[in-house]
């Protein structure tokens, strides 16, 4: 018990000494802490954001259509003849086939792209539309207002806003405009013989892949997209190997490597002299290493804690505002949404092992070299 207490007291003394030494070079160490915290913050933010978005996409999109059938012409998605519906219906196991009418509209007034869609059961009727909150915000258009679109002839078409989708659904409806089938077909001169794509429902979900294969065999100019593929798309977009992760990760990792490299390649003459003096006054090599270990721990643990907390606040309280320009690109509409926090212990642990351990090791290694040399020669530097 006594030995244990002595050990604890020694460590506390060592931390006291280390902190005093760090504070003597305040400017250097505070900037080091700021950069280190920044690296952890960026890595943590990406980690929390991608995991949150991946889980959110999974939960939201599990209701997406089971199979979507697109027609391909010269490698491009084309309008599909509605006559294909009958052919697909004859495949055993197919429960229902329906057309899906949707497309894009570029609004020159605000320079935004909208997604126009015809719901199965559009209750607002012809001449009315429902719009997403993003459009409402950009166009300053509210329920009861008139919104004008340009038809295929260039003539303006006016619609009354019958509904604005809730703010809670912005992640899927910010740019959405729902219209009646007649208005949609009239706007884009689309005949009844074609649709944008087809939605297929099957009786047994286990047969999805088989039915998709049969559709391609029956209609070789089509491409079926399974719900599972939609979900996997978002897994890929928000996985650690995704472009989003790699772009940010690369910058952060390189700055961290420079940071650790600077530490590992050697110490300043002043630091070496300090070690020399400590050895001259009776410090053991192990004591010097212990001090350097605590130095690494103080800096990296503080940076890690601060970085993680800042990243959490940034992603889940400030809606990852620093990533907004990255995700927005040139687009005008961007959904206002709060990400549901899904964090796992292994994420935080991975972040810890990626940042704290390499830095601590990088701090101890060069001091081992200095701590083992003759104090007299170090002090003469």
């Amino acid at each position: 018990m006594k030995a244990m207490r002595a050990w604890v007291e020694k460590q506390r003394n060592m931390v006291d000494f280390t902190l005093s030494a760090l504070l003597r070079r305040k400017g250097k160490n505070v900037s080091l802490l700021a950069v280190y915290t920044g690296v952890v913050f960026v890595l943590g933010s990406v980690m929390f954001f991608t995991e949150g978005m991946r889980r959110e996409a999974h939960l939201i999109l599990h209701g997406a259509p089971e199979i979507i059938v697109q027609k391909m012409v010269a490698g491009r998605h084309d309008l599909i003849p509605t006559a294909y519906m009958e052919k697909i219906r004859q495949i055993k196991g197919v429960q229902s086939v329906k057309e899906r009418l949707w497309g894009y509209y570029y609004d020159p007034v605000v320079g935004a792209n909208y997604t126009l869609l015809v719901p199965d059961d559009f209750k607002l009727g012809e001449g009315n539309i429902a719009i997403g909150k993003g459009i409402s915000r950009k166009r300053l258009a509210y329920e009861g207002d008139i919104l004008s679109f340009r038809g295929y002839t260039g003539d303006p078409l006016t619609f009354q806003i019958g509904e604005i989708f809730s703010a809670e659904s912005e992640l899927i409806s910010a740019d959405l405009v729902t219209v009646s089938e007649e208005d949609f077909r009239g706007m884009f001169a689309m005949t009844k013989e074609v649709a944008t794509d087809l939605v297929v429902k099957v009786r047994n979900p286990k047969e999805l892949a088989t039915i998709a294969t049969k559709i391609v065999q029956l209609l070789p100019d089509t491409r079926p997209i399974l719900r599972d593929e939609i979900l996997r798309t978002y897994d890929a977009v928000f996985s650690w190997r995704s472009s989003l992760m790699l772009v940010i990760l690369l910058g952060a990792v390189f700055s961290f490597i420079i940071l650790a490299w600077d530490k590992a390649t050697g110490m300043s003459a002043e630091e070496k002299r300090e070690i020399g003096i400590l050895k001259a006054v009776g410090w053991e090599t192990s004591d010097v290493l212990l001090m350097r270990f605590w130095e690494g721990v103080v800096v990296s643990a503080s940076a890690f804690m601060l970085g993680v907390l800042l990243a959490y606040g940034h992603v889940f309280f400030a809606s990852a505002m620093l990533f907004e320009p990255v995700l927005k690109g040139w687009s005008v509409l961007y959904p206002e949404f709060k990400i549901t926090p899904f964090i796992a212990f292994n994420q935080v642990a991975a972040l810890f092992f990626l940042t704290v351990i390499p830095y601590t090791v990088a701090t101890i290694v060069p001091s081992w070299r200095t701590a083992t040399i003759d104090p007299d020669s170090v002090m003469r530097l």
Partner: protein, 98 residues
Amino acid sequence: MLSARKSDLFFLFITASTLLIGIAFLHAEVQAARNLPRLQQQAQMVEKYDLTDLALCTEARYTRHPSQADRHTAFQDHPVSLEHFPTGSVIGPSHHLK
């Protein structure tokens, strides 16, 4: 007057930070449970309107609907066209196109 040792202040900071991280975990659990009805509402909307993608990047159709894009959408403008939308470097091609 008693003054706190530097080591005590450091360990106090680490303990407080660890506690805050613990609270963040707790907050995540509570918030996720609280947001479940909102997520379910969105899932219902997806089902009702047969939606397929998140309205995250609305600048190009292959980043607005990455799951619906074909292999050539990003290079659609002309035969030697390069993919040039900023979000194209963030939203990669759909899984089934790789």
